[in-house]
């Protein structure tokens, strides 16, 4: 086998000799016609498939629908909901649930906007992305009558900037972004974004920041006194300059494993979401979390029902099931994120909140932070600046 691959190196060379001599017209033409046949067959097949679909008419949802006749595809971040949840839902309501996983908002949005039916019924996306999807007319308005458990939500959770009144999305988890650190390594308790942006010399090469655009900008935006949703080019230029200055002091950009770096001691101070800092705290109680004094963001991860879904009743039932305190409390206790569900939060074991103090942040405290909203036309500006920062030398 290895010999064969050795020879393939030669084939590339010998291919350059004497090809194109005999490549007459007819093979190429024939190939084209074969491809045409293949394509035509494909189209016919696709057309046949399409004709099976019933025209998914206006969405008057039937509260009496037989859910066991429906099945769901739910796309969520890996490890973000109870693993046995699909099974339990199926047991109770009869509808099969298949779970697809996505790694980022961008990934799931790309899937949902690629055109056609993504096959997904319920997607978990951050609020600003739910807003963008709604503007694209891709998500189904939430039918409140099918989700009685909405009343479990904190009143504050019904007035979030990306979707006031939860018309197109239902909040699943919420939180903020701050500094996650090991005081035994830093030697002090950081209080400001500047502790990260302009670190003390002994912290150089011991800090990480996130590279996902909105959170890459956030520390500099807040430290400079700007909005996390600013669309002002001048302000964003200042943000860029600060971030370019910060880059050489960083160990790395890290969106996913920052808490592991704290545990190993590779890093002392990292930018982190509250819930992910908790993963570090769970392993090492010397790890602490703080929201810097300049303020931070309020992010919300939501559930949306796709317009293309043919199982909208089951989709609503699924969301309703999640808002059941039994389930939503599990989320808090196992995923270690705060949920906007008053009934669920009140059922959380106080000992857990003592171990993970940021779980105890009240809705009022969270709402002091600035909610992320979709940037609309300013999105390319953020991308451009993110590129300039990460590509700077």
């Amino acid at each position: 086998m290895s010999f064969r691959s050795a020879q393939s190196g030669n084939l590339v060379n010998s291919g350059n000799r004497g090809n194109s001599v005999n490549r007459g017209k007819s093979p190429a033409t024939k190939t084209v016609s074969w491809v045409a046949v293949a394509l035509a067959t494909g189209m016919v097949l696709a057309a046949c498939g399409g004709s099976d679909d019933e025209p998914s008419a206006a969405a008057t949802l039937d509260p009496e629908a037989d859910l066991s006749q429906q099945s769901l595809v739910v796309s969520n971040w890996a490890g973000y909901m109870p693993e046995d949840l699909p099974k339990r839902f199926t047991k109770e309501f009869g509808a099969d649930v298949e779970v697809a996983e996505h790694a980022t908002n961008e990934e799931i949005v790309a899937k949902l906007t690629a055109g056609g039916d993504s096959g997904i019924d319920v997607a978990f996306v951050s609020g600003q992305f739910a807003q963008a999807l709604a503007e694209q007319d891709l998500v189904e308005p939430i039918d409140e009558t099918l989700i009685p458990n909405l009343e479990n939500l904190y009143p504050e959770a019904t007035e979030l900037a990306y979707d006031p009144g939860n018309q197109i999305s239902v909040p699943y988890a919420w939180g903020t972004t701050g500094l996650c650190y090991r005081e035994d390594l830093t030697g002090f308790a950081p209080t400001s974004w500047n502790d990260l942006l302009n670190p003390k010399p002994e912290l150089e090469n011991k800090t990480t920041m996130m590279a996902t655009e909105r959170w890459l900008m956030l520390p500099a935006q807040k430290a400079l006194g700007f909005s996390v949703n600013t669309q002002d080019e001048e302000e964003m230029n200042q943000v860029r300059d600060q971030l370019i200055d910060t880059k050489p002091t960083l160990l790395a950009y890290d969106d996913t494993t920052f808490y592991e770096r704290l545990i190993s001691g590779e890093a002392s101070l990292v930018q982190a979401w509250d819930g992910w800092c908790n993963y570090g705290i769970a392993e090492d109680d010397r790890i602490k979390f703080v929201v810097p004094e300049e303020g931070s963001d309020l992010w919300t991860d939501t559930m949306v029902v796709l317009k293309t879904s043919e199982n909208k009743e089951a989709a609503h039932a699924f969301i309703n099931y999640i808002l059941d305190p039994k389930i939503h409390t599990w989320v808090v206790e196992n995923i270690l994120y705060k949920v906007p569900n008053q009934a669920a939060m009140e059922a959380v074991d106080p000992a857990l909140i003592a171990d993970f103090p940021n779980l105890g942040m009240t809705p009022a405290e969270l709402l002091e932070q600035e909610a992320l909203v979709d940037l609309g036309e300013a999105a390319p500006l953020y991308t451009q600046i993110a590129t300039e920062v990460t590509a700077s030398n």
């Binding site: 086998m1 290895s2 010999f3 691959s5 050795a6 020879q7 393939s8 190196g9 030669n10 590339v12 060379n13 350059n16 000799r17 005999n22 007459g24 007819s26 093979p27 024939k30 190939t31 084209v32 074969w34 491809v35 293949a38 980022t104 961008e106 990934e107 949005v109 790309a110 906007t113 690629a114 055109g115 963008a132 999807l133 503007e135 694209q136 090469n205 990480t208 590279a211 996902t212 655009e213 880059k247 960083l250 160990l251 790395a252 950009y253 890290d254 190993s264 001691g265 590779e266 609309g376 036309e377 999105a379 390319p380 991308t383 993110a386 590129t387 300039e388 990460t390 590509a391 030398n393």
Partner: protein, 302 residues
């Protein structure tokens, strides 16, 4: 009469040969057409339209995407990538040539074993192999604790998340792709030419540079292309071993499609890389044809 029937017979043979070729090439060509040419045309067409608000394409003609690509920041990233891929290629050649040379000189049984060992890393997933370097090189990792333990350095040195770490990762990933074509080139060398040169008084250095090196140059070029091309487009290694601090053109393209949702600009960047590589292949084809030409010439002289 005889002539004519010979000719018709030849024609039939030729036609059959053509038919056979079509049968052999048909599946491959169809595959390439559907999965290479069509997507490429799609990418090309994207480049001329505007970015959709949420990704995808807005079908309004524009050339802005091309002018944007000349922004110094993107040129810098491309040049940076070329330099990183270039250094990787040179190092791979320096490491790979002697290795291939030694393998080609081994007894047949050992040769097979050595070649299996060369491709052995491919049996493990690429991501896992790359992660292994993170474990090895990080400031709390075995390399650093070893260095500190022996007393060579006082404090762990930061090796991970630097450009050299990216180069090490790429080199490690693609070295076999250098060794294999080199090996097959060196293995085909006719020992008698070298012996003749030695008889005529050429020393080992002279023999290497006048005989071995020129005759194995096609293998060298193939190996270099095999290492350079995937290194240039790689985005996993710079992300993992560069800690996101090194951006290569592959990252840029990936980000345009998956993060920035700017398909048209991503398409332009992808086309720029393709254009660059096509140029490279043209040079390669041209130079190996020249090499083969001179090869034939020398044989005639002899």
């Amino acid at each position: 009469m005889v002539n004519q029937s010979v000719q018709t017979a030849r024609g039939a043979v030729r036609r059959r040969a053509l038919f056979e070729r079509l049968i052999y090439l048909g599946p491959g060509l169809t595959y390439l057409f559907i999965f290479l040419l069509l997507p490429l045309l799609l990418v090309l067409s994207y480049a001329f339209f505007q970015r959709g608000r949420f990704g995808g394409i807005e079908y309004e003609f524009t050339l802005d995407n091309f002018t944007r690509a000349f922004d110094p920041i993107y040129i810098d990233v491309l040049l940076d990538s070329v330099v990183i891929a270039g250094i990787t290629t040179v190092l791979a050649l320096l490491l790979g040539y002697p290795t291939a040379y030694v393998i080609a000189g081994l007894p047949k049984k050992w040769r097979t074993i050595a070649l299996v060992l060369v491709v052995l890393p491919f049996w493990t997933n690429f991501l896992i192999r790359t992660y292994a370097w993170i474990v090895l090189l990080n400031s709390e990792g075995p390399v650093n604790s070893g260095l500190v333990g022996i007393g060579i350095v006082d404090e762990p040195i930061s090796m991970l998340y630097t450009k050299p770490a990216v180069i090490v990762g790429l080199l490690y990933a693609y070295l076999p792709l250098m060794i294999l074509p080199l090996y097959s080139s060196i293995e085909r060398l006719d020992d008698e030419i070298g012996e003749a040169a030695a008889n005529l008084g050429a020393g080992p250095v002279r023999r290497f540079f006048s005989i071995t090196w020129p005759l194995t140059l096609p293998g060298v070029i193939t190996g270099c292309i095999f290492v350079f091309v995937p290194s240039l487009g790689n985005f996993i290694v710079p992300e993992l071993l560069g800690g996101g601090k090194t951006v290569m053109v592959g990252n840029l393209i990936r980000d345009q499609f998956l993060k920035a949702r700017d398909w048209p600009f991503g398409a332009v960047l992808a086309l720029a890389v393709i254009a660059f590589l096509v140029l490279l292949f043209v040079v390669q084809a041209w130079s190996s044809r020249r090499l083969e030409g001179s090869d034939v010439g020398s044989r005639v002289d002899a």
